[in-house]
Symmetry: none
Subunit: 408 residues, 2 copies
């Protein structure tokens, strides 16, 4: 049994060696919540041990965000630090690795005007586009590493005192990221091998669509022309094989933006704008979610879906077995990185270039039938009650998952 400090150090090492697969002399640009200072210092130490040339970190601060959202003139909400994100995008294209330390208080913006939050987030998303584009195109190796933010821990364990909640969340993070394995780096090698096996299987089949069936769900998701399944470690354009998400359990691809039909019910809540959107359901027609609702905080999701024409269409469909280490924690994490990897999911909005042959961008994505948008919002639809079939164009079906687990 390892101590907490040993596990934390292993997680940091995993983030640098497996997540980023940082190369000697490479620069790192990290983003993190201010609460993560000590963990960031540990990551920086591991990065320099791995031969990093420069580790730059940009901290976000919920206190400043609240101050701004509650005070500034409405038109000033349209302002975002474009100068910063343009620079980041350039740095990624020139070889800097991107490390995101994730984990935040889902209630950070609670009580603020959702209209103002939406307006600010739209401006932020637009300004961030040059950086996001470099990331989604895998211009460089990147990874997201989780941090047990106290606000996050309070949300996951509302009944516990904060200190204990943080300890429990770290323990869950260690389990979800395979840090507790005898040799975490070897465990990830094996995990990546299994994910790549599924990816190879699905890419060989070239299904025309997927069919999800479960309580409240009867949904056919057409796949884009020349779609590619991805999952596990990915080779970025700079030739470095990285694990963008720690944890990751999914294999995913690009839906066809005009061929999604039927109804679907979310299996888990979605954290959005500091609140939880619960009980999401949607009806799709010709690829568009023509009806969307939720039992709680529906307006937050509906607001985001107004962003642009592509916001109500799908940019991602992902298959995740229900018997994975994240699902096994038995927790709802209130965090997309974890919850999406606990279950099969869909994403409203932008498709990933990596999910199409030749990795097209811009208008070419649309021509292939993949989706474009300023948003990308994952929401979970898989569970032990959901079956998934692969459909060939002639209607032949192949069972892929039964009761949430792989049958291929």
């Amino acid at each position: 049994m390892r101590t907490f400090e040993e596990n934390l150090e292993r997680l940091a090492e995993l983030g640098i060696r497996v997540g980023l697969n940082l190369q000697p002399h490479q620069e790192v640009i990290a983003t993190a919540p201010l609460e993560a200072v000590d963990f960031v210092r540990l990551l920086a130490k591991k990065a320099y041990e791995a031969g990093a040339s420069l580790f730059t970190v940009l901290y976000s601060d919920n206190v400043l965000a609240r101050e701004r959202l509650s005070r500034v003139a409405p038109e000033d909400l349209d302002r975002a630090p474009a100068w910063l994100y343009e620079g980041m995008g350039r740095a990624f294209r020139e070889g800097a690795a991107r490390l995101a330390v994730s984990g935040n208080d889902p209630k950070a913006l609670a009580g603020l005007d959702p209209e103002r939050i939406g307006r600010a987030q739209k401006a932020q998303a637009q300004a961030y586009e040059p950086a996001l584009k470099a990331i989604t195109e895998f211009a460089t190796n990147w990874s997201i590493v989780p941090f047990a933010h106290p606000g996050w821990a309070r949300a996951v364990f509302p009944e516990l005192p904060e200190k204990e909640a943080v300890e429990r969340l770290w323990a869950a993070i260690f389990q979800a990221t395979r840090v507790l394995e005898e040799d975490p780096v070897a465990a990830w090698r094996e995990h990546n091998r299994r994910l790549h096996e599924k990816v190879a299987y699905l890419n060989a089949r070239r299904f025309h669509a997927l069919h999800f069936r479960g309580p409240g769900t009867d949904l056919t998701v057409g796949l884009a022309e020349g779609h590619l399944w991805q999952g596990g470690a990915t080779e970025a354009q700079n030739g470095v094989v990285c694990n963008p998400n720690l944890p990751t359990e999914e294999v995913f691809t690009a839906p066809h933006r005009a061929r999604v039909e039927g109804v679907v019910r979310a299996s888990r809540p979605l954290a959005l704008g500091g609140e939880l959107v619960e009980g999401i359901w949607a009806r799709f027609q010709d690829g568009v979610a023509v009806e969307v609702g939720a039992e709680k905080n529906a307006e937050l999701l509906l607001k985001a879906l107004e962003t642009d024409e592509g916001a109500r269409r799908l940019g991602e469909v992902a298959l995740v077995p229900a018997d994975n280490p994240i699902a096994k924690t038995g927790l709802v994490f209130f965090d997309t990185l974890f919850d999406e990897n606990a279950a099969s999911h869909l994403a409203f909005g932008q498709a990933y270039a990596e999910n199409l042959e030749g990795h097209p961008t811009g208008e070419e994505l649309l021509r292939r039938g993949a989706n474009r948008s300023l948003i990308h919002i994952d929401w979970m639809i898989g569970s032990e009650e959901v079956d998934v079939d692969g459909l060939y164009e002639d209607g032949t079906r192949v069972p892929l998952m039964r009761k949430g687990v792989w049958v291929v």
Copy 2:
């Protein structure tokens, strides 16, 4: 008597309203040491109260700096985040205000290889140039606001426990920045008025030289052709009148690099490389300090004066009345921003473009008789025992200061 919190809030307000003179809807880009998080949040609050549209802060971390300097490959020391500073420079030119929170541990890099530090600092300075150029050209309104960093407090009050040292340093900062006045904003308005009055007086007189006389001092400092006196609030190119330094007590101009004659004795110790150089004296001939000595740590100063040909010549002469709030603290601050503003001073090394008509740079500085060097080291020569005269070319003299205070 106001509480500590009230004084801190007034300092933050002074930084935003007087230092930056922040305009409604203006963006702020702040830099600060990580230890200053709470003070930064207070500054951001005041900025948003004053109508800021966006307050972005970039934190520096001595822990990461030490980690890097002690670990990376030698050639990786040449790396610096150019992408970040180019973006900052652009943002300043596009209207963002620049707020620097100053105060750091003078021993932050103690014990590290000076050669590696020098190499990293050179790369940093080169990468920072686009931002620094926008700042020194006053493309936008900017200000430096002091923060009582624990490491700085330990240096100023080595005999006190840290907590008490920090309290004492804050008290000294409040006094030096006129925060303790009944109405600090009004006090700064009056202070700026008086500094501008002196600047106008001195620029109208067009003295050929200044003459300092006191214990161990009988020094004539020729002034450069077309020299300009500066001091107090400055109008930036965006039309905003800001106070770049809080505190500031000086009016200053460019000496003639070849017309300095006589002897001079420092009135206060000089903090250099984390140590105090005490009892400095010098003899000038044809503008060059042909003899320089000190009672303690002379070698630190002498080493710096070897930097280049201009290092033993003067780049600045500044008049500061002896009865100013910084001198009244009776402290050595180990920080140029404070120590130089405690007394009339000279600087070995580089002259400021702003101190010459037309703001020339490079070779043109030399043609005007102003000095060039890679160093700029301010050292204090004024006190209640020092008189200053203005000299016209025909030898006529006008008393400017008697017993260290203005008589004009």
